[in-house]
Amino acid sequence: MRLSAFGVTAVAALCVAGSARANLFETFGAGARAQGLGGAVGALVDDFSATYHNPAGLALGPPRVGFGLHGSYDRTSILLMERPAGYDPPGYDARRAPRGDTDGAGVSGGINLGFSLRPFEVDFALGALVRVPFEGFANIDTAFADEREQYFDNQLRFGLLSERLRSEMITFGLGYRWHYGDEGWLAMGVGMVVLPAVRTVNDVYTPNAADPSVVDANFRIEQTIEQGIVAGLIIQPLSWLRVSASFQDEVFQSVDATNQVLLGGAEDEPVLQDLQVAQHYTPPRVAGSLAVVTDTWRVALEGTWLGWSRYLDAHAETPDPAFEDTLNWRLGFEWIMSDDTSARAGVGWIPTPVPAQTGRSNHVDTDRLLIAVGGGRRFEMWEEQFSIDAALQVHALRETTTHKDRLEAYPDCAPGVRALCDETPDRADDSGGLPASATRGLQTGNPGFPGFTAGGYVLLAGVDVSWLF
């Protein structure tokens, strides 16, 4: 018997993508100075990294062109608990990849290129910052966070870390400073985070549905962009006090693919396949910062609200249970050791937005403690002013163990089911193609079953060199 439906899924992966990713800057900060301050730079930023943190800061520093090298060392781990006997769904032994632990992405790195200019007057500036990862541009790597993943890599992932550390980033913005009184000023700025997006419509013809390896296809691919607005202001009401506020809209890289599949023998009934990707979702962000500025030291306390409740996972699905909005706290300290040398340190607490994953889903994340050190120095070479900044940052993940909930009865897997679910509904007899005994109780290939432990750390090292003019 040949079934034409056999060919339907043959083309599920035919979307083609080119893209950038967010958001390494959110994790560590944009640029070595921000990283050395633990990211608490909303009120202190004065270079092109302001295009991400707070565009108002573009107007505060001298114009410059900069180049940076930034590398991370991801040592996160997810250790899966051993599966107990008797829970395997039919065919579980034949999965393409065996269920396995997850190790961090290892070493990754990239370069930052940025500039800030003052083309018209002293207090008006514009700037841009681009991060290009060494691993290459236009990478997309998705995974399912429930039992569907058993048919793919069959692993869990840190959805808010790991691959995000290999991200591209493009930001640009404008800033203006307005002076009032003897010492007071107000700076404001707007900018944009830009991520490419892809729209594809693919026409696929499978002449023999019983042999889906043979596929004829035409592609229509359109490259577009997704953008998120960034805006902010910095007020210095007193010579020693700065207050800042900034906002960034949500942005994510998207792939929207539609496959229209025709199967040989059923040409009058095309099958439409909609495939959605929302990679590296960056939530809406509101940050407020208070900084004390003196001639010899600066300290800033920054609180950041992140609207994670709007999160979309890699397949553009809203997690169930949904993520929670979070409030991060970061404290940065900068010691002005001399006219040309400074040392920096920062700490931060980054609570996870991910609720306990005791049911069907496996979004893995933990609270993080951030510790950072760094320094900067200005120097003269070829009669020009340069600066060099360096930073080292570690994110220590709080070890978290998740046990899936044990229930009296498990619901059948279906859309909208939140609990750990039964992939093989119980049957009273053998008529379903399976022995009835093989359907009793819970059968699940969910890679997160029966539980897992997550933890580890991520290190970052960064160096920026800028020409000030």
Binding site: Y87, A210, L263, I371
Partner: protein, 315 residues
């Protein structure tokens, strides 16, 4: 940089290192106990899987209840390379020797269960028990030429019609649901008989409504008093009448005349055979065979072959 600054920086870096080295994690134990009667396992055989020692070599009295297991090879053909589809059928057979003591037999048979091998992506076409139960008992002639091991056994062709009636052996199976010979045999409101198509996990993809004729002629040799093995002259003539979605319409099936086999095994407790008469009423029903099928298969070492398209359905 002053000495004190360097010392402070060194202390911070050392602190970072300490944080990092303290972040290794350990695997934890789960809280779920082992689960019984699952894991894709079938029921444990309730019969002795090893035939008792020293079965009588001669089949002196074939009268009684037997189970016929037929493996039917078919090729699915379309524009691409053909794919092998195996059909396994289990019949309840009562052998009735002729009264005059000659070699002729009567086979009263009824198909009890049928399964098909999975196809691409593990999709599986199911034959519900309701379909097999809606069939009628067939009576065909057979011949057992001798009693000893190696004696020849022959039967006329056992023919079952599903979803169609009034059809002769030579007639084409009607492909239209409007044909007056097509009947709703399983009474589900759809023409012919209904085959659900499911994934390996049991998720139903669609339904196919078919009319078909199943043929099985037997030509084998006595192995011992409770088993006859041989070649099956089989064929399944199938016509798709409709489907719940057009995509599930079936393609062409070409019966493969080579490699089809049968085993006729005794299941009434005579001559040391397993006894599938669970209710002790002196007869064996299809429901009893289905319930004891894993045990019966194990008792006689009967196994289903794996599809081998390269060998049996070459391009």
């Amino acid at each position: 940089m002053p000495v004190s600054s360097r010392a402070g920086l060194a202390a911070l870096v050392a602190g970072l290192g300490l944080v990092a080295t303290g972040c290794s994690i350990d695997r934890q134990m789960g809280r779920f106990p082992a689960q019984e009667a699952a894991d894709g396992a079938v029921d444990a055989p309730t019969m002795d899987p090893e035939p008792d020692q020293g079965p009588p070599p001669d089949l002196t009295d074939p009268a009684g209840h037997w189970m016929l297991f037929v493996e039917d090879r078919n090729c699915l053909v379309d524009a691409g390379d053909p794919i092998e589809s195996l059909i396994w059928s289990w019949y309840r057979v009562e052998l009735v020797p002729s009264a005059d003591g000659r070699a002729s037999l009567t086979l009263r048979s009824r198909i009890c269960k049928q399964e098909l091998s999975p196809l691409a992506f593990g999709f599986l076409s199911l034959v519900p028990d309701a379909t097999t139960d809606s069939g009628e008992e067939q009576e065909t002639a057979g011949f057992l030429v001798g009693e000893s091991s190696g004696a020849l056994f022959l039967s006329d062709t056992i023919v079952d019609y599903w979803g169609v009636q009034g059809l002769s052996f030579e007639d084409m199976v009607p492909a239209s649901a409007d044909d007056e010979r097509v009947v709703d045999q399983d009474g589900d409101g759809n023409p012919g008989v209904t085959f659900p198509v499911v994934t390996t996990s049991g998720l139903e993809i669609c339904e196919v409504y078919v009319a078909q004729r199943i043929r099985a002629g037997l030509e084998g040799r006595v192995r011992n008093a409770r088993r006859i093995d041989g070649d099956a002259l089989t064929g399944t003539d199938k016509a798709v009448l409709a489907a719940s979605t057009g995509l599930c319409a079936s393609g062409d099936v070409v019966p493969n005349m080579a490699g089809n086999t049968f085993s006729l095994v005794r299941i009434d407790g005579v001559d040391g055979s397993p006894d599938a008469d669970l209710d002790g009423d002196g007869t064996i029903a299809c429901a009893e065979i289905r319930e004891e099928l894993p045990a019966l298969m194990a008792a006689y070492g009967l196994e289903r072959s794996e599809p081998d398209s390269d060998r049996w359905c070459p391009p």
